[in-house]
Every structure is written in C-alpha cells, then in structure tokens.
Amino acid sequence: MTRKQRRLTIIGGSLAVLAVAAVLVLNAMRDSIVFFSTPSMVAEKHIAAGRRFRLGGLVQPGSLVHGDNLAVTFEVADGSAALPVSYKGILPDLFREGQGVVAEGVLDPSGVFRADTVLAKHDENYMPKEVADALKKQGHWKDDYGKKPAYNAKPAATQGASR
C-alpha cells in the first residue's frame, strides 16, 4: 500500500466517523435539548402539553402544599405570571418558599406543570443563574434577591438534584 493510499484510507475513515458523529449530534440536538422557560414565557408561547422543558422562577410563598405519599404542589412565579407545579418525591435541601427554583418536566392538558426533577442548583443566595437573568430581563429583579450575607462574601455554590 502506498503512502497515498494509506493516507486516503485514514482520511476516508476519519471523515466517515466524523459524519456519523455529526448525524448523531444533530439528531440528539433535535430530540433531547431542553429549553428554559419562565411562567410568563409559558403563558405567551403556549407550549404544547407533553413537550419537555425547564421551568424557572420563584416558589410562590404560601403555595407549597404537602400531599399524601410525598406528593407536593407549589406555584412558580416570576412577577407577572404563576404556574402550578406538581411533583412527587423529595425536594432538595435548598428548596424554600420565596426562593429560586428550576424544575424539569412537562405540562399536562389541564395546565399543571408535572415536574419529574426539581433542581436546587444555585448558590447560597437561593437564586439560580437562569432565574436571576430572566427576572432581570423582565424588570422584576429586586436587589434584595441577591443580597449577600455581610462582608463582600463570595457566594459559595452548591448543587444537588432530586429526581
């Protein structure tokens, strides 16, 4: 086999693998990407029931209701709209009323967001970055959301997820 043939084999093989990879990536991009939404974006865009997305906002104070067998319901609000959320399971350590939350799941036909994952993926200011950005964009950001506990503290972040 000459050098040229060898090189062509290798280049051909590489291109084939890269093409396969590109197809895989594009296919996966179409099916498995999850968009982030806030309750008011949900109200505007009319997201179809059954489409997976991430919902972010603040847990409405006073809306958390514990049902039987670890079922919980609460409302996620962003200042102009609120969306009821139902979840079954253990809420993460950092879940609090009045604090930021990101939940992943689908809307059911009655308009309730059925979360299968509640992420408490934020720092000790209880404000996920996505939620903070979304609130700022809508003009509902209040400075005390991001208030730092004394002394120019760097937020030490924490992460956890409950499925």
């Binding site: 060898r6 693998v17 895989l24 990536v25 990407i33 760097k154």
Partner: protein, 660 residues
C-alpha cells in the same frame, strides 16, 4: 507576618518564572549551555518558593488567622483539623494556589529527573512551563490573592461550604489537578518540539511517562469526584453530564487518545504531527476546564468565584495559550518529518481508530458542553443539554471503540491479520455470547439492551484475558512455562491488559446500576418498615446530635435480608449553623459490589420523615474499573523499558552536558 511572607514568596516565584521563561530560550538560540541550565535551577527555586507560599496559606488556615480574608470566608475555629487543611483549596484563591503549586511541582520534577533530555529540549520545555506558570502567578496576584488582610479582624470565620466538609476534598481536587496540570508537561514538550522543529521517537519516550502519570491521576481524580458526588449529594447519581464533569472528561478523553498515539510514535515513529496536536489539545481542554469551573460562567459546587474580572483574565490566558500553540502548530507542523508506513489493518491502524473514536467522542462532549453557553451569548436563549444528548452521541461512538479494544493488542505492527486476531478472540466472543444468553434468560426478556451491553463488557474483559493467555501460552504450553512467561512479561503489557479490563468492569457497573437500580421513596414513621430488593429496613427512631460545627438529626435503620439481621444504617441531616445550610449524609451498606443507599428528606407532619432508599447492584464496579485502569497505568509506568537505556547517573550527565 506569615501572610505577607506567603505573598512575597509568590511574587518571588513569579520573578523566577519570568527568568525561566526567557533566559533558557535565549541560551538555546545562542547555544550557550550555561544560560540553558538556568532553566533547571530556576525551576527548582520556583518550586521552593511556591511550596513556601502554599505552606504559609496552610499555616494560616490551621491557626485560624481570621485577619486574612480567605481564612475568614472559608474557615471556622471549630472546624476539624483535616477540614482546616483541605479547606485551603476548598475556595477559589486557594485552589488556584494549589494549581500553580502542582505546576511548579511538575516543572521541578522535569528539572530534577530530566537529566537524560537533550539540553536544549529541556531548556525549551522548562521555558514553556514557565510561560504557563507566569500567566497563572499574575492571575493569582492580580485577581485572586489569597493573602489579603482584613482591616479589623473578626473573631469567627464564616465556615467552609458544608458540602465540601468531607474527606473527598482531601483527595479529589489534588488528584484532579495533578491530572490537569500534568498534561502541561506534554504540552510543553510539544511546543518545545515545534520551537526546535525536531521530533523523533525518543521524544515520545520522554513524554510518555509524564502523560501516563497525568492520565493516572486524572482517572483517579474523576472516579473519586464521581464517588464523592454519589455519596455526598444524596440523590444517588454518580454522573450527571454536568458541564463541570464534562470539563474533566474532555481532557481525559484527549489524554487517553494521546497515551495511545504516543505508543505508535515511540514504536513506529509515525503519527508525529497528530501526537503533537493531541498534546496541545489535551492541555488546552484542561485549561478550558479551569476556565469553565473557575470563571463563574457555570453555577455549581465547583464555581467559587463569580467575579467577572477573573473570568475575563482566565479567558485571556486561555486564548493566548490555545491560540498561540495552535498557531505555532499550524506554522511549524509541516516542517516535521513524516513517519513510517503501515497498513490500515495493523496495530498502528487500531490505535489510529482508537484515537479517531476517542477524539470524536471528545468533540461531541465539547459541543454538548459549550453549545448552550454559545447559544446564550449569541441569542440569549437558554437551553440545557442533559444526559439524553450524551447518551445518544457519546454512547454510539463508544460502542465501536469497545468492540475494537480487544483486537488492538492482538494485531501485529505494520501489517496485521484481522482474521487471526478474530480467531484468537473466539473464546472471548463465546464468553460474551454466553453472558448475553444467561442474562437474557435470567431477566426473562426484560429488554435486550442490558444483556447486550454486559456481553460487550464481558467481551472486553475476556479479550484482555485472551491477550494474556496468548502472550503466556496459557492452555497450550505446560502450566509452569506459562507462569514463567507471565513473570517475564513486560509490565507495560500487564498494564494494557488491566486497563482494558478496567474499562469492561466499569461498563458492567454502569449498566447494572442504570438498569437494575431499585428505588423506594416514601415517608416513614418510627417502626415503619420499607422493603426493597428483598431487604427489609426498619426505622428505629430519630435522634438529635451535636457535631463539632453542626447539629445533626440521625435516623437509625435496622437492615435485614430474609429475616437475617445485617446491621444498622444511620443516615443523617446536618444543619451547619454558621452558614444556615443543610446537608444530607447518606448511609451506605456494601454487600459485595452492590450497595444499599439511604438518604433523608424533610420531616413531614406527624413525626414522619421522607426517606429515599436505593439498592444499587454492582455499583462499586463503576469506580473499581477506573481504579484498575489507573493501576494498569502505574504498572506501565514502572516498566523497565521506561528506565533502561535512558538515565545514567546524574553526576556523569552533568559532566557530559558541560562538554556539549
């Protein structure tokens, strides 16, 4: 006083790094051995001063000197001693100091043990190391100085993030950094080779042990991090395809590819240009990991800092080093001589395939990790790319790789015999098919995926065993001969077999855990019994306890299997008063390679507590596999071949160098 001394030592280290980054290069241009030898002494002195600086920060943390901002923000006088020490790198400033300390350590090691290197190559390598070091010293001194004082010192510190108050912090970051930063050596060697315009098989021989060392530490660091997340975060997951995790996986994939292409280069003097590119990529991805984790673009347990100037500074370092090295590569790579010829079906061919699949898999991880960030910057739209994406892209690419793994070591160099290799793998193939059949029958048609995946894993492991049997003549020659041959087998062969078997073992763990994981979630009152996978867990009661810097609520469970008591498990919830944070301490009970896992949720009304119980079959194999891979790497590292024919006694070499 100690803080100022530490700060001053760091400034001196920067000064030394600046000398080390210029004088040796000048020496190499002028062919002046004295100037080139400056690299060695400055590298060692730099290590000394960074070590002093690091020791100063450790002392400040241990003595709880709250007049230093870093200590105040991350320590507490009641914190146990071990966490006072590990807390040194449990924050942004300290972890960057650890980063440069390890960088200086590697530079010092090259200076101390690189006596067999050509003088000009060593000068170039150490100079490139010093460029990286200078950039990071500047970064620390300008944006993240750990030695800053507070005007009026408080009496008590703000304590370390409770999630980090764990023995994992003592092991995971140093290991991971030894891996990340270890790739700086192969990067420096690559850039030095490009600067010198000369590269040969000897180059690969010098780089290999360093790359292998970095790879071993990175493997262990990732495995350790994964296990830590598994037992500390309380949700029983061990890999979340989180950007931070991907940031460590990408250099690992590139480093694994590099490890294999270096073999081709050393043995066959081929793939030179590609190997250089991989060396650059592996370290670039390590830098990218540092950027993703340290710049605050991501929110995670790893992101301590959200000061934008730091992000911009690291981005600048990233652009200079990645852009600079790739430009140098584009400019000089064509001047490197072409290597030897080989047929597509050969050991080289198999290693090229390995490289191709590993780098492509790495690229898909790269896209999945950076696409959301890029999209947000460009359009402001927020998306998240999670496990499904990676399962659909990474998985299919690893499938052919795993099928090919057993074939590689059985193919001959230059021109291999695929049919012969396949014949020699018949036994492994049969073992895999038997495994598939048995599992499928056992699960009674509960889905074909898991049996097939485990069959593949068995094929990989049995393939490694066949390779061993092939090399020792086991089953063909008398047993005593086989044993004698096994003893005479080079350690690098043992290393290959163990590392490849480790991949298969990890795969078995992953498949078993994801397929046959049983879960019980419910609220339990004292004396309630939960049943899961044949186990009975009775909640005996809840007690409150005071720890050194937290209060905890401990639940005691009595575990029994078929009426046989197995002991107690005590998961707890800790409340750290200083930060007002709660952590969940999971309780684990290991049976063979499987584990029972209990973590607690909130207390609901009526004294009931939310409980999450998992039974995870074969879960420990997920981490045992990487440990075996790392052990294989260590065996390879201790191979005679990497020592023989190289270093003469240091003193004699110094005499030789002077005459050069």
């Amino acid at each position: 006083m100690i803080a100022e001394a530490g700060h001053y030592a760091l400034v001196l280290a920067l000064a030394l790094a600046l000398i080390q980054s210029s004088v040796p290069i000048l020496g190499a241009r002028l062919r002046d051995p004295a100037l080139m030898n400056v690299a060695r002494s400055t590298a060692l002195a730099q290590l000394l001063f960074v070590a002093l600086s690091f020791a100063a920060l450790v002392t400040l943390h241990v003595t709880s000197d709250f007049s230093v901002v870093n200590v105040f923000e991350n320590s507490h006088s009641l914190k146990p001693l071990i966490y006072k020490i590990t807390g040194v790198w449990g924050n942004h400033e300290g972890s960057m100091l650890l980063w440069v300390s390890i960088l200086a350590l590697f530079g010092g090691l090259v200076a101390a043990f690189g006596n067999n290197l050509p003088l000009s190559l060593r000068a170039h390598v150490l100079a490139v190391q010093a460029w990286i070091a200078s950039a990071f010293y500047l970064f620390i001194l300008i944006t993240s100085n750990p030695f800053l004082r507070i005007a009026d010192p408080p009496i008590e510190g703000r304590d370390l993030n409770p999630v980090l108050q764990d023995i994992g912090l003592a092991v995971h970051p140093p290991m991971l950094y030894l891996g990340y930063v270890g790739f700086s050596i192969s990067f420096s060697f690559a850039v030095a080779a490009l600067l010198e315009g000369r590269i040969d098989a000897a180059w690969a021989r010098w780089v290999r042990p360093w790359t292998l060392m970095a790879w071993i530490f990175l493997t262990l660091g990732i495995a350790m991090g994964s296990y830590w997340a598994y037992y500390e975060l309380g949700w029983g997951g061990w890999w979340f395809w989180d950007p931070v995790e991907n940031a460590s996986l990408m250099p690992w994939l590139a480093g694994t590819a590099l490890l294999h292409s270096l073999v081709v280069m050393e043995k066959r003097n081929a793939l030179k240009v590609w190997t250089i590119l991989l060396s650059i990529l592996a370290f670039s991805l390590s830098l990218l990991g540092t950027f993703l984790v340290r710049s605050g673009v991501l929110t995670s347990v790893h992101a301590f800092a959200s000061d934008p100037t730091r992000g911009v500074f690291i981005l600048l370092i990233l652009c200079i080093f990645i852009g600079g090295s790739l430009s140098l590569y584009a400019w000089r790579a064509s001047s490197l001589k072409q290597g030897g010829l080989f047929a597509p079906i050969s050991r080289e061919g198999a290693l090229v395939l390995n490289n191709l699949l590993l780098t492509t898999a790495c690229a898909t991880v790269f896209i999945g990790t950076l696409y959301p960030l890029a999209l947000e910057v460009l359009t402001g739209e927020k998306i998240s790319v999670g496990a499904p994406f990676f399962n659909l892209t990474f998985g299919p690419l690893f499938l052919p790789l795993l099928i090919a793994v057993p074939f590689g070591p059985l193919l001959a160099w230059k021109r291999g015999d695929l049919l012969g290799a396949a014949q020699r793998l018949t036994a492994a193939g049969v073992a895999a098919l038997v495994a598939v059949a048995v599992l499928w029958a056992w699960t009674r048609g509960g889905g074909a995926f898991a049996p097939l995946a485990i069959g593949l894993a068995v094929f990989v492991i049995a393939g490694a065993c066949s390779d061993f049997a092939e090399r020792t003549g086991l089953f063909r020659a008398p047993f005593a001969t086989a044993v004698r041959r096994a003893r005479g087998l080079p350690r690098s062969n043992w290393g290959t077999m163990l590392a490849h078997a480790g991949v298969g073992i990890a795969l078995i763990g992953i498949v078993c855990e994801t397929t046959w994981n049983s879960e019980y979630i419910g609220s339990m009152k004292p004396d309630d019994v939960a049943r899961i996978a044949g186990f009975e867990l009775k909640l005996d009661g809840l007690t409150q306890r005071q720890g050194p810097n937290y209060r905890e609520m401990v639940a005691q469970f009595t575990v029994s299997l078929d009426g046989q008591p197995l002991g107690v498990m005590t998961p707890s919830k800790r409340n750290f008063t200083t930060r007002g944070m709660t952590t969940t301490e999971a309780a684990l009970k290991t049976r063979g390679a499987s584990q029972l896992y209990i973590s607690l949720g909130d207390i609901a009304g009526g004294g009931a507590i939310a409980v999450r119980i998992y039974y995870k079959p074969m879960v420990l194999l997920i981490w045992f596999g990487p440990v075996l891979m790392a052990f294989g790497g260590m065996l390879s590292l201790s191979d005679r071949r990497l020592r023989v024919g190289a270093p003469k006694p240091a003193r004699a070499m110094r005499g030789l160098q002077a005459a050069e």
